[in-house]
């Protein structure tokens, strides 16, 4: 179990390294990009931050033009010249089209979801276009995710949901967002990498286990009577009701008074669960995972619970808000960037 957890840990470490290089897009290039297109919450595309270059189809198209011109020269055919020039002019006009398709667009993070390690985390990106003609055939995507088509054609803004696989707890920063278009002919690609300062909180991957055995409380007036059966603690006596255990009937009393009376035993559940980091098995990450599992289970069971971490204690509470707070602490345990 421990060794498995260890390898798991190493894997997480290595993918983390990859992630770092991915999101930063390589040292020098990344640094250059950071100067050229500084991060911001809302980034508007313009000639300052959009790159444009022919695609492979574009270069093949150029080859076609060369062949056509050679044919036109050898056949001394004005109209074949014309075809070549028309295609060349279309290519030039396409440069304007392709660039225009991105120019003026604004990108910002509309909303980011939360998730657990090994889950896809949702980022909603809002793309807004200026007034004027609609934009189509745009694709956006994070370096580690799938690209999505964006159309800002009839409306002036649209929101696109993108998903990124979370591979460690803490802040998931998907890095620079790729915005690209091949519209209208696919001969040119206009693209940019923008950092819209997107981040999402990733909780530890939950490990589920049974909630630790009930702890009896010495205080009778606290908590709730849970399990009248099979416990040792005597509570009181009352009249027999059908369904009571035969062995709990006080026969002596029956002999005396002809009344059936039963003894009641019970244990009182400590109403506030306490999940303690120190009490759990495994290394730090495994302990956090177990705590996550426990928190989820307790919430599902609508139990009040508190968590004790080495550096802080979360007071008991119940419900989704409390769970969010707990998960946030677990996700950010040992991480300074809060």
């Amino acid at each position: 179990m421990d060794s498995a957890a260890l390898t798991d840990q190493q894997q997480t470490g290595s993918s983390l390294k990859n992630k770092e290089s991915n999101t930063r897009l390589g040292g020098r290039f990344g640094a250059w990009l950071d100067r050229r297109i500084p991060p911001g919450q809302r980034i508007t595309l313009s000639q300052r931050n959009v790159f444009i270059f022919p695609t492979r189809s574009g270069f093949t198209f150029g080859g076609l033009l060369v062949i056509l011109i050679l044919g036109a020269i050898n056949y001394q055919n004005s109209l074949v010249h014309g075809v070549a020039f028309l295609l060349g002019s279309i290519f030039v006009v396409t440069i304007l089209y392709t660039f225009r398709n991105l120019s003026g667009l604004s990108l910002e993070l509309a909303q980011s979801g939360n998730g657990f390690v090994d889950e896809d985390v949702e980022f909603a990106v809002r793309v807004t276009r200026p007034k004027g003609k609609g934009r189509e055939g745009i694709q956006i995507g994070w370096p580690d995710g799938f690209k999505q088509w964006v159309e800002v054609y009839d409306r002036e803004a649209s929101v696109v949901k993108l998903y990124v696989r979370a591979d460690r707890r803490g802040w998931l920063k998907p890095g620079r967002l790729l915005v690209e278009t091949y519209f209208p002919l696919g001969l040119l690609r206009a693209w940019t990498w923008v950092d819209i300062e997107a981040r999402a909180l990733v909780y530890p991957k939950p490990i589920f286990q049974s909630i630790p055995a009930t702890q009896s409380s010495r205080h009778r007036d606290e908590g709730e009577l849970i399990d009248p059966l099979g416990s040792d603690d005597f509570v009181d006596i009352r009249e027999y009701e059908p369904g009571d255990r035969i062995k709990n009937i006080i026969w002596r009393s029956y002999a005396r008074s002809d009344e059936l009376v039963v003894k009641r035993y019970a244990s009182y559940l400590e109403p506030r669960l306490w999940f303690d980091f120190e009490d759990l098995a495994g290394d730090t990450e495994e302990k956090l995972s177990r705590l996550t599992g426990l928190a989820l289970q307790a919430t599902r069971a609508e139990r009040e619970f508190g968590v004790r971490l080495p550096d802080r204690t979360i007071d008991p509470g119940v419900g989704e808000t409390h769970l969010d707070q707990v998960l946030r602490e677990l996700a950010l345990f040992g991480i300074h960037d809060r």
Binding site: I73, Q76, V83, K133, E136, G137, L185
Partner: protein, 667 residues
């Protein structure tokens, strides 16, 4: 470092596929007359196959099927009887490759290959025909192909083919100004290497001539060339357009002999400046090297040669409309002293045993006449006096003794029969003579003043070398049908012959005919098209640029290209970056405001703030007319939440408003 694409991105969007299928038909159609009919069938079948693949009924072809199809297609083309390496064979191969690629087209890359091949086929269409109509058609075809490419980059769930076509149409229109700038300025250069697809004679003269051939040309109204003269054109009977010189006769067929060397440039001196003719010819593609000119070319383009038999030859086959300027001197005497080698070549009989009767006749005639000229005139007199006739439908002659058969038995023939008989007779007595093929006459187009020479003007005549005078032209056809030389073919044809003409040929030959006038008008448009676009070649460009820039230097051309490009793109930039779409009103509102505009012409103006219903009621009152259910219709089409979204409501409104206008107009 890049985000991944989802698998869908590699597929061909549905609307792009539909456009590609349309493009296939559109692009192959203009090539259909030049390729074998079965190839068109292959294209249709491949298109059907790909449609079935799209519907999920058939599969893509297996690799052995593909191999088999390619092999079968290549074998089919080889067996189709094209001349090897002819333009037609190459085009057929290209079309087949295109059709087969269409079937196995699976992903984006395949689609792009098919699109590029489509553009290539559009260009190929211009190798066969460069007319205005074809240009307009191919421009539309390029919009369809471009639309297929646009569709490849649009979100396939939303976009219909019409939307892609609209983008492509705009794109092509916006590219046109820049195209014109480049067309004007991009340096034209002479051919870089010879084209490996020569000599597939379509219509027109060929390098061999069997006398019946030229008669079939007489039925074709296809254009041979256009000419524009500096100054007045010569008389019809002087217009002998020389093109080919047939020096060999082998059993019924005249053929070109091995070409003579080119004459040194400027070897011919002007006899008299005043008599010289200056003209420019726009020659339709012949797929051959020979050029046409009047007797005798003194000045001609630098790249063109004047051969020893005084015909012009281009260094490579003429594959597109070629324009060239010639100055001819009709008075110039050619070969006053005949080179012995040429004398031998132009007076030999390849088969001394062929046509023995004519040989004997010629010897007898020569003896009696006493001189070459007298003999020629005697033959002409013989043709005139004996019952010879001129016909487009000569009887078929045997391969051997064909001239005997014509001269003594059938006595019915076209120009080449008479010319051939005369040349043969002269050669029988050792006189240098040769048959010349070309065109005779031409029709002036009154709209632009250029002359049009068509295939039915094809003609053959005789040149005889006479001591002291050099080569002299004689036309035995003038003896049998003088009208042919004076007034063109139509005047010389019998009514039976005329019935064998196609409708268009017959119409063109008429001078007083509305349709003929219309055809002449189109010809004048086509002439201007040739003058400015098709004939824009190395020399023309040099002249135009000299007029525009004075001295032509690469830097001036470069600056002009950049400036012209910037100006022609300015509109595009304005449209793309600064144009704001005006807020569009509801279509029913537009319908009603058109009605209001029409009403104000009738004297009833809609007042500001007057609602449509009130306005209609006022019309009813003032004009005393029943507006019927119109108020309800307006209400429904403009304001009803459901009705205002319905096309039918709008159409109803439109119809009823039109009826009301009609009734108002009637009073």
């Amino acid at each position: 470092m890049t985000a991944r694409s989802i698998g869908v991105a590699h597929q061909i969007p549905r609307n792009s596929l539909a456009l590609l299928m349309i493009a296939q038909v559109v692009v192959v159609l203009p090539l259909a007359p030049y390729i074998s009919p079965w190839i068109v069938g292959v294209c249709l079948f491949c298109g059907y196959w790909r449609t079935q693949v799209y519907r999920g009924r058939w599969g893509y072809p297996a690799s052995w099927v593909k191999t088999f199809l390619v092999a079968a297609a290549v074998a089919g083309i080889a067996l189709s009887g094209f001349q090897s390496f002819s333009l037609e064979a190459a085009t057929s191969l290209l079309v087949v490759a295109f059709a087969l690629k269409l079937v196995e087209m699976k992903n984006r890359r395949d689609a792009y290959l098919v699109i590029y091949l489509s553009y290539f086929l559009i260009a190929t269409g211009f190798l066969f025909d460069q007319s205005m109509a074809v240009t307009a058609y191919e421009l539309a075809a390029s919009v369809v192909v471009t639309a297929a490419m646009v569709g490849m980059n649009q979100l396939q769930t939303r976009v219909r083919p019409v939307a892609s076509l609209r983008v492509a149409g705009t794109l092509v229109l916006q590219a046109l100004p820049l195209t014109l700038v480049i067309f004007l300025l991009f340096p034209r250069i002479a051919p870089l290497w010879s084209i490996p697809v020569p000599s597939a004679a379509t219509t027109g003269l060929s390098d061999t001539l069997t006398p019946g051939d030229i008669a079939s040309l007489g039925r074709s109204d296809e254009l041979a060339f256009r000419v524009i003269f500096d100054g007045d054109p010569p008389r019809q009977s002087e217009l002998y357009w020389r093109g080919l010189v047939y020096s060999d006769f082998v059993y019924g067929t005249w053929a070109l002999a091995a070409p003579l060397d080119a004459l040194p440039r400027d070897s011919l001196d002007a006899e008299s400046e005043s008599a010289s003719l200056s003209y420019e010819i726009f020659l339709e593609p012949t797929q051959s090297k020979w050029l046409f000119s009047l007797d005798t070319p003194r000045q001609y383009p630098d790249r063109v040669d004047l051969l020893g038999d005084y015909r012009l030859e281009n260094p490579e086959p003429v594959m597109s409309v070629m324009r060239y300027k010639v100055i001819s001197d009709p008075e110039l005497s050619t070969d006053p002293v005949l080179d012995p080698a040429i004398r031998e070549r132009e007076s030999r009989l390849e088969n001394p045993n062929d046509n023995i009767r004519l040989q004997a006749y010629a010897r007898d005639l020569y003896e009696r006449a006493g001189s070459v000229e007298a003999m020629v005139y005697a033959m002409m007199a013989h043709i005139r006096e004996e019952p010879y006739s001129y016909t487009l439908n000569p009887p078929t002659l045997a391969r051997y003794d064909s001239i005997d058969e014509f001269w003594f038995d059938t006595r019915r023939g076209f120009c080449s029969h008479y010319a051939g008989a005369m040349v043969y007779a002269l050669r029988s007595v050792g006189v240098p003579a040769r048959m010349v093929g070309g065109y005779q006459g031409g029709e002036i187009n009154p709209v632009t003043g250029h002359m049009v020479v068509r295939q039915y003007d094809a003609h053959a005549w005789v040149e005889v070398w006479i001591e002291g005078k050099g080569w002299q032209r004689f036309d035995p056809t003038a003896a049998v049908a003088p009208a042919r030389v004076e007034d063109g073919l139509n005047a010389a044809l019998s009514s039976e012959d005329r019935e064998t003409l196609s409708f268009l040929s017959a119409t063109r030959m008429e001078s007083e005919n509305v349709l003929a006038d219309a055809l002449r008008f189109f010809d004048s448009l086509e002439y201007r098209w040739n003058l400015w676009v098709v004939g824009y070649d190395v020399d023309t460009q040099a002249n135009v640029l000299k007029k525009l820039f004075g001295e032509v230097t690469p830097s001036r051309i470069g600056v002009a290209l950049v400036l012209g490009g910037a100006v022609s793109l300015a509109m595009v930039v304005l449209g793309l970056f600064f144009w704001r779409k005006p807020a569009s009103s509801h279509p029913s509102e537009r319908v009603f405001s058109r009605f209001c505009a029409a009403m104000s012409r009738h004297g009833i103006k809609r007042l500001p703030g007057e609602t449509p219903v009130v306005f209609l009621e006022r019309i009813a009152e003032e004009k005393n007319i029943d507006v019927g259910i119109l108020p309800e219709l307006v209400q429904r089409a403009l304001y009803d939440p459901i009705g205002s979204q319905q096309r039918s409501a709008r159409m109803n409104l439109k119809k009823e408003l039109r009826k009301l206008r009609f009734r108002l107009a009637l009073g």
